[in-house]
């Protein structure tokens, strides 16, 4: 029997799982009672409250009867049954206890010395960790959650990438055996590694995605491998043991949800992709950016649990600070609190979690802010009760106040969602936990007190405010020995000792003619007051008095929206220059009478027309017929070129280098594309339409690159160029050997480790062939790294290698030839000119800089003539930037080549057709030839001139940039930024100080 770590508890039926009540059921506990048994009746009646039994359902003056942790009866106006302990909660509101579907109880601290045993080779994979088995007493966090109304939680481990299983627990104070409702319900997984767990891989978001995929595949293999071992009668050597892979069995088979914790809209997209690819039952913990991708989440991301961690306002304290406030931050500050409301409005079902808050005490204030900003109280209550109850399999026991359900209740003074309400009690499984318990005797009201002592005085004491934040005044009349005329003094502090109703008050003694403070303590019984004081002069007169006016009622403020209503259009990306929709694609576009640089067989044509139809180049020529309704662009005096191409940038991704291993072709830049990338807009403004986003140069074999089009306003997955071409990053020379304590340290080692992995991939291939032929033994596991290298060897994944010196490039070209394939491109290639004939012979394209060099030793022999020499030798030669900024002016980079003797069309070809050829996408882009993508740029003059600028950039036959639209966007940004800055200032004034959050009353 192979190790099976699934706990048997999982099989327990839900119905019939009785929670532990106040008087523990002897029949459902195993621990013998030591000493005297404790058997309180567990029979309670809450009377007189307004009871919200479920979202939208209210009973007035209702009675709730609880017996042994279960609600026995809920009815309007009935009396408490005889024998029940009566709780007078008239004037209060009772809600169903809240359920936090993603709670962090901090129970998964890594043991000193790290995890032990056969867990997983990667310390970030802790799927074996069980919150049930590691349920520890963290009374403080439980109490903090309870104080916000929560009675039940899915506790989620937080360490690592594969974090282990989450369990449903009640948040009462029963011992660890009395708290679990559903053990190990879901696997928890996150995109952030934990540094304290150690290990070097992965250290990038794309490495994290790759590890997730490989681990899901490994978990699937693990089942089959152990089955093969067992069914062989253990006549084989066993596969490796991994508790982590064993623990993932249910998850990969779809039987156990995988709870993804996301930190950004991009991580949502990544989680959705991975979940779809592996068919896992995915749950999502959100991040406050939901309002940006409502269209994506709608219908796709369920169950969804969102936090209420709203951002602080950007600093706008002085004009220079205002200058540095970005629209992205300002918008996020304004829109994040409206996010839950918008989710509800869009029809997305979600639960709300207190996870992610800096302080749990922010939860209720932030909840009210969310309500003030558009979330209906019913929707808010549903997100805290019935929705999570359903997802956690607790619908029959939790989520509403109904007969037969578990007695989880929140008792509040005031409406929890719309007023500055106070939580009085939280009931968990019939056990009451006081949060802000009203004293048995309420001290609020107006008191007239007097002293018979010679040092005493007559006074009127007024006490008001919520019970946990009492305030008031004392009006002191002249007394026998006090020689002042009378004063009204604000109390410095007032508090109640809740259990006995003793009032403690402190106020400034100066109006009485003393230096210091007066301490006044009063014991209250009914309307009688008996107290004594301590005066700064050492006297301690006693007082008696009575209440002259009762407490007028709670003075809770209603929580309203404290920011002006702004009409901020939904834009994508949610930042500067974001657009509200993808530009339209006219059926036909014709540019008339321009100088058209086709960069194809037609060459450069004067006074020519360019016709685009259905987003594709239709024709270039003179006096073309255009269909009626075609968009006409007057090109008189203008130049038109294909959209520019840069085969090497690093912008628009959430990470660049996965340096945890020397060889990482399994990581994919496509997994970490982001559309929140202002460089893309600027690149469009410089005429760039296509680019290859590359992995970094930390590894001899790096990750898979991704080719994108500058579809500003689209989501990451929509940015990719539709092509079968795949390329992978290699890196030679200084960079890959720079990492300490990681092979290689030399150019020699770089070559050898690449070679060794080529050989390993062929071995891997043979192992699979053998197994497929014989089906004997332990099935081999799928290894994404080896599969990627096989693709390289089979020329399916084209090498695009970073490097500088001639020697290292020549070595790689020869190594590839040894394995029977060809290197697609060299990149940077500062010394490529030194081996131009060799490259030409081997059919390797060169992607080089115009004139960048000397920034490091291996770049010292740079020459602007590099491209010229390569082209003379017949090498396909492209320019590149390796820089998000330079990528926005590739026309000028090409212009620099003019002084090396190239013709204008040759110079421009290095950023158009040759750039496309270099990365094998010339079937789609790079020239204005019929059938190619309708990507073109209208320039104010010769595109190679330093005095020329792009006026319009079209992509797929859509106008993604124009000077006119740019001017409009700038005006819109100016308007929105100033509105939002004013909104922050208004909110700060509203809150009376520099409190930079909205709607909070902390």
């Amino acid at each position: 029997m192979r190790p099976r770590l699934r706990t048997l508890l999982l099989a327990l039926p839900l119905v019939g799982l009785l929670p532990e009540g106040a008087g523990a059921q002897q029949a459902t506990r195993t621990q013998p009672v030591e000493g005297m048994r404790d058997n309180a009746t567990g029979y309670h009646a809450l009377v007189g409250a307004r009871v919200v039994t479920a979202p939208g359902q209210v009973l007035d003056e209702a009675t709730i009867v609880i017996r042994d942790g279960i609600i026995r009866e809920v009815s309007e106006g009935s009396d408490a049954p005889a024998g029940a302990r009566v709780w007078d909660v008239s004037g209060h509101t009772v809600y169903p206890g809240f359920i936090d579907a993603h709670a962090d109880l901090g129970m998964d601290a890594v043991p000193e010395g790290g995890d032990v045993g056969p867990t997983h080779w990667n310390p970030q994979v802790r799927a074996w960790f069980s919150t049930t088995r590691n349920l520890q007493d963290d009374a403080e966090r439980r109490a903090a959650l309870r104080s916000q109304g929560f009675g039940t939680a899915l506790v989620v481990p937080k360490q690592g990438i594969f974090r282990g299983t989450a369990s449903v627990v009640n948040l009462g104070d029963a011992g660890v055996r009395g708290r679990v409702l559903r053990p190990d319900v879901a696997q928890s997984i996150g995109f952030q590694r934990s540094f304290q767990l150690g290990g070097s891989y992965p250290n990038s978001p794309m490495g994290t995605a790759a590890l997730m995929k490989q681990t899901f595949m490994d978990a699937d293999w693990y089942i089959r491998a152990w089955d093969a071992y067992e069914s062989s009668g253990r006549a084989l050597l066993p596969p490796e043991t991994s508790e982590a892979l064993a623990a993932l069995e249910d998850a990969v088979q779809g039987g156990q949800p995988v709870f993804f914790e996301t930190r950004s809209e991009e991580e949502y997209l990544r989680a959705l992709d991975i979940a779809a690819e592996f068919g896992v039952d995915a749950w999502y913990r959100g991040n406050g950016q939901e309002y940006r991708i409502l269209d994506v989440l709608s219908g796709r991301a369920e169950p969804l649990v969102v936090p209420l961690a709203f951002p602080d306002a950007p600093d706008v304290s002085d004009p220079e600070a205002v200058l540095n406030a970005t629209l992205a931050d300002l918008r996020h500050w304004y829109l994040a609190p409206a996010s839950p409301g918008r989710l509800a409005e869009t029809g997305v079902r979600f639960a709300i979690t207190a996870d992610g808050l800096t302080s749990l005490n922010d939860f209720l204030p932030n909840l009210r802010t969310a309500v003030a900003r558009g979330l209906s109280p019913d929707a808010a209550l549903a997100a805290l009760t019935i929705t999570p109850a359903e997802w956690l399999g607790l619908s029959r026991s939790h989520g509403t106040i109904e007969q037969g359900k578990v007695a989880n209740l929140v008792v509040t003074e005031g409406d929890l969602f719309t007023e500055e309400a106070t939580v009085r009690d939280v009931w968990v499984q019939g056990q009451v936990y006081g949060v802000t318990r009203a004293p048995e005797i309420d001290p609020r009201g107006t008191w007239r007190i007097a002293s018979s002592d010679e040092w005493g005085f007559d006074a009127v004491l007024e006490i008001e405010g919520p019970l946990n934040r009492l305030r008031g005044t004392i009006e002191v009349a002249p007394g026998p020995t006090v020689t002042f005329t009378g004063a009204s003094i604000d109390l410095a502090s007032a508090s109640v000792v809740a259990t006995t109703g003793r009032l403690e008050v402190r106020f400034d003694a100066e109006p009485l003619g003393y230096q210091g403070s007066v301490l006044l303590v009063g014991s209250i019984r009914g309307d009688d007051f008996y107290g004594w004081t301590s005066l700064p002069n050492g006297a301690d007169p006693t007082f008696t008095g009575s209440r002259t006016e009762p407490y007028a009622g709670p003075t809770r403020g209603a929580v309203a929206m404290d920011v002006p209503e702004l009409d901020l259009p939904v834009i994508r990306p949610m930042m500067e220059y974001g657009r509200s929709s993808i530009p339209a694609r006219p059926e036909a576009i014709v540019v008339r009478n321009a100088t058209v640089w086709t960069q194809g067989p037609q060459g450069r044509l004067q006074n020519a027309d360019l016709l685009i139809r259905d987003g594709v180049v239709a024709e270039v020529g003179v006096d073309l017929d255009a269909p009626g309704g075609a968009v006409e662009i007057d090109g008189t005096g203008k130049h038109v070129t294909p959209g520019l191409i840069d085969p090497h940038i690093h912008s628009g991704v959430s990470g660049v280098n996965e340096s945890g291993f020397a060889i990482v072709p399994e990581v994919r830049m496509a997994d970490v594309l982001t559309h929140n990338n202002i460089a893309m807009y600027r690149q469009l403004a410089g005429g760039l339409t296509t680019a290859m986003v590359k992995h970094g140069s930390a590894n001899p074999i790096g990750g898979e690159n991704v080719i994108v089009k500058m579809r500003w306003g689209a989501l990451p997955e929509e940015l990719r160029l539709d092509t079968e071409t795949r390329t992978v990053k290699f890196a030679l020379g200084e960079n890959p050997k720079r990492r300490q304590n990681r092979y290689p340290d030399t150019r020699m080692g770089t070559q050898e480790i690449i070679r060794d992995h080529f050989l390993a991939a062929r071995d891997y291939e043979r192992e699979w062939q053998r197994w497929e032929a014989t089906q004997e033994g332990i099935p081999p596991r799928r290894d994404l790294r080896m599969e990627a290298i096989l693709d390289i060897l089979d020329q399916e994944l084209l090498i695009s290698s970073h490097g500088y010196r001639a020697d290292e490039f020549l070595a790689l070209v020869r190594l590839a030839e040894e394995f029977g394939f060809r290197v697609q491109t060299l990149q940077h290639g500062v010394e490529a000119y030194k081996i131009a004939p060799e490259l030409a012979e081997s059919g390797v394209a060169a992607v080089v800089w115009s004139d960048w060099g000397a920034f490091k030793l291996e770049a010292y022999d740079a020459t602007v003539y590099n491209a010229r020499i390569l082209m003379e030798a017949g090498v396909v030669t492209s320019l590149h930037s390796d820089n998000s900024e330079i990528a926005s002016r590739m026309n000028w980079e090409a212009g620099k080549l003019l002084r090396t003797g190239l013709t204008e069309e040759q110079a421009l070809s290095t950023v158009t057709i040759q750039a496309a050829q270099a990365i094998a996408i010339d079937d789609r882009v790079g020239s204005l030839e019929p059938g190619k993508d309708g990507d073109f740029v209208v320039w104010s003059g010769n595109p190679l001139s330093q005095f020329t600028r792009a006026e319009q950039t079209w992509l797929d036959g859509r106008r993604y940039f124009s000077l006119e639209e740019d001017a409009e966007l700038r005006e819109q940004i100016r308007r929105e930024r100033s509105q939002l800055v004013q909104a922050i200032l208004a909110a700060q004034d509203e809150n009376g100080n520099g409190n930079q959050r909205m709607g909070s009353d902390r």
Partner: protein, 441 residues
């Protein structure tokens, strides 16, 4: 997928041979002797910068100095006559902020001589550390940059910029002005902190403390100057002594400042100290434009060819900055910015401003006479006028646009060797390509 790469732009052997520069010896570039005979270049369009454009003009120079410019000049007997028909003549471009000669390879620390240790180094001078064999000198000249201010950095008072004429066997021959300007790095009130930096690093001096330190240093230096002037015997201090020309307003103080608060505070300080200041950097200078104009404080822009700092700024925020400053009446020069390695990019830094609204003649001034004037060498270079040095370019058009070629440069009357390391590698490896092509053809 083998065979996807195809060479569509075969250039043809003939073109290659024609375009290759004339073969030279192994020497990369040769320093030429001082001008020994009068030279007249005739028939060219002469862009004097200060005296307009002269069509079909003649420029006459002798002994390294321009003697006459005009259309009907009498050419003295014995003068060598050069035909400049169809060509343009521009003053040599001047990079007001460079590290040419004191920085060779970016990531090789030992090849850098820019930042001396300590906060106060007014006595260090760049010129004596200039490597006359630096590869960057040749490439800068090929781009039309013939004068550069090599500039120390680091600390609060970084040292003296030296004006270099980019021709000579040694730094001594190249140095036009050893202590041309004092450089001050204005502290940053909003220092950027990276995630690994502690927010409340108590060791890091505050902005106010740094400004106080700077002010105190200037006060002590001024006291030193006054004591010496009063004939008092003082113990010598090289640092304070180096500051004297600053207080006498003989040389400018170049203050590196980008933010609006930085620039404002630097101006307040300079007015208080009664210094001749020039702001260098000036990214937010447009927000301080009125004050700069009112006090006639010029700016050396260091990043016109750059992406804007803030996401909301226009994509052309840096490109259009010169045009906006010009409109606001601020006087400015444009420098190579990136400094050391790329002084050869100076023309593009100015040219981009033209694409985004700056009149072409203003862009030219920004890299010639303005730079010379702000840095105090306009009596020698920066425009083409009799009495100034014969440091100029012969081109096919404005040197600010890459569509034109720079054919020849003259520095102090010397017709310099236009070879540089990049052309040298071209010659050498074109030879290899030729050998290969002969073999395969």
């Amino acid at each position: 997928m083998i065979g996807r790469v195809k060479g569509v732009v075969a250039l043809g052997l003939g073109a290659a041979l024609l375009a290759a520069p004339a073969a030279s010896d192994a020497q990369v570039r040769m320093t030429v002797p001082p001008q020994s005979e009068a030279v007249a270049i005739r028939g060219a369009t002469i862009h004097t910068v200060t005296e307009g454009v002269i069509e079909n003009g003649t420029i006459l120079f002798d002994d390294g100095i321009i003697t006459a410019i005009g259309t009907d000049l009498e050419i003295p007997t014995g003068a060598r006559v050069v035909d400049g028909t169809g060509k343009h003549i521009y003053p040599g471009l001047i990079d007001a902020y460079s590290t040419v000669g004191i920085s060779e390879i970016g990531a090789v620390g030992v090849s850098q001589d820019i930042n001396e240790l300590g906060d106060f180094n007014p006595n260090v001078r760049a010129d004596i550390a200039v490597n006359a064999e630096s590869r960057h000198i040749g490439t800068s000249r090929s781009a039309g940059v013939l004068v550069a201010f090599s500039t120390p950095g680091g600390g609060l008072v970084s040292g003296m910029s030296s004006a270099l004429s980019l021709e000579g066997w040694t730094w001594e021959e190249m140095s036009m002005e050893s202590a041309a300007a004092l450089n001050v790095s204005w502290p940053d009130p909003n220092p950027r902190r990276f995630w690994w930096q502690d927010d409340d690093d108590e060791d890091a001096p505050s902005y106010e403390e740094q400004v106080a330190e700077l002010t105190a240093f200037f006060d002590e230096a001024r006291a030193y100057r006054d004591a010496v002037a009063a004939g008092e015997e003082v113990r010598t201090d090289s640092r304070y002594a180096a500051m004297t020309p600053v207080f006498d307003r003989e040389i400018p103080v170049v203050v590196a400042a980008d933010g609006a608060a930085q620039i404002n505070d630097a101006v307040t300080w300079a007015l208080e100290e009664d210094l001749r200041i020039v702001i260098r950097g000036g990214q937010d200078a447009i927000h301080v434009a009125d004050r700069l104009v009112a006090n006639d404080i010029p700016v050396i822009l260091t990043s016109t060819m750059a992406a804007p700092e803030r996401d909301y700024e226009g994509y052309d925020g840096a490109y259009s900055m010169p045009a906006r400053l010009h409109e606001a009446g601020v006087r400015f020069a444009i420098s190579g910015g990136a400094g050391s390695l790329y002084t050869n990019r100076l023309p593009w830094e100015a040219g981009v401003a033209v694409a985004f609204g700056l009149p072409e003649e203003e862009a030219l001034r920004a890299v010639t006479i303005n730079a010379a004037e702000f840095m105090g060498i306009d009596d020698r270079v920066g425009s083409l006028e009799p009495g100034k040095q014969a440091t100029f370019l012969i081109t096919t058009g404005t040197p600010l646009d890459m569509t034109n070629d720079i054919e020849q440069a003259y520095i102090q009357g010397r017709e310099i060797d236009m070879m540089d390391i990049q052309k040298f590698f071209f010659e050498k490896y074109m030879t290899k390509v030729m050998q290969y092509l002969r073999m395969v053809m």
